[in-house]
Symmetry: C3
Subunit: 164 residues, 3 copies
């Protein structure tokens, strides 16, 4: 029985970013000695999510897969993009002071929509590993999503595997 | 320490299907040597979910538990049933060509609502196993949901248990 | 390789309750011999959720962090607070009879909104443990949410850790 861990980075954009990380997660699994167990793909960022979805084949002009753009359109209806302060309760005055103390621009905190969208979609996916392979079915792909629209950033994708 | 895995199938309908799989998951656990650990109930299908909910006692004329029909009614408001192409961006033209290459009927891809609903609800549930039993509280039941409304299918429910 | 488990209680209110349980979960981890693995924070209650979110610094007059109140406001739009029977399909007549048999007040079952909200947010969070610490990034905090608004109760937060 063993525990194996790995990380890699992605670069997000100033719009909702969905990156297919399936091959990179599989590479982390192959670098381990684990053939059977549970593999966790995890976001340590509170405006990001991990999801499993079918690849959509077609993309829009921005390069976003259409099924992911459909998801963004649904989220936009229930959690509209935060365009200025006061649209949501957060960030409040103490939060802005605290952010300034970390040398953050005030507008960086105008990502309330991303905090809410990501918590609805979820921070991680747990995937069965059977005979050295992730069980993703015929069509499942793993996507790392960054919902933050105020700035592009380097993001960490974290993989944790427990098994034998 | 051990890893145990199991699968069983359910038959879904041409409407959102919620199947209480608690007893069958418990049977997989009992067939293992694991008394303490983490049990993962997982959907390898990208229009299906696994959820934990209270049993609702009453059902509608279709046999759907009322609490699950309430869930469908909420989802219908934010992610309406896909009734024809063009309602959502997905499926696009490349996707339809790819599906035809797999000998799929074009209307089988009109399940965009199911892809979106299932990713919102989530693909799996992780459940603590303590002294040979799943910790589901007084009322928790495990449901496998198939949100695909374009065709009924045989679906695989996958269980992965890690523990000792 | 080992399995470690722990529980602690929180007291919820007659409004959506969000309790930051990060320190108490960390204490359970420190009481184990596990340095690397997967830690599951889990709700065994079907109107409760576990989520990871940034601390919001500011609170409203009720003491609720603003980002959590923003979340409640979003949920209120799509799953309105259940104020009387008939607003949702659940609870139906059989459910009320069964609840009476458990000596429950009928109004205790008017928590359909909480059942639906909690299943949308999810029952648990799986978190990587690396070198004895949970990987929560710079800002991640663990919250236990009770969405039930019909009565305050003592709730169990359950932690299960698998690793070495």
């Amino acid at each position: 029985m063993a525990v194996h861990q790995g990380t890699f980075n992605i670069q997000s954009d100033r719009r909702p970013t969905f990156e297919d990380v399936t091959e990179r997660v599989q590479a982390v699994l192959q670098g381990s000695s684990i053939n059977n167990g549970i593999l966790l793909v995890y976001s340590q960022h509170t405006t990001c999510s991990v999801l499993i979805q079918e690849a959509s084949d077609d993309t829009n002009y921005w390069g976003t897969e259409l099924l992911m753009q459909d998801l963004v359109n649904v989220l936009e209806k229930i959690i509209p993009t935060c365009r200025t302060e006061g649209q949501y309760l957060h960030p409040g005055p103490k939060h802005i002071v605290a952010a300034a103390g970390r040398n953050e621009e005030a507008f960086w905190s105008l990502n309330t929509d991303a905090h809410l969208r990501s918590v609805l979609i979820g921070r991680s996916q747990s995937i069965p590993v059977v005979n050295g392979k992730m069980e993703l079915g015929e069509f499942g792909r793993i996507y790392f999503a960054d919902f933050d629209q105020v700035r592009g950033r380097v993001r960490t994708v974290r993989i944790q595997i427990v098994g034998e």
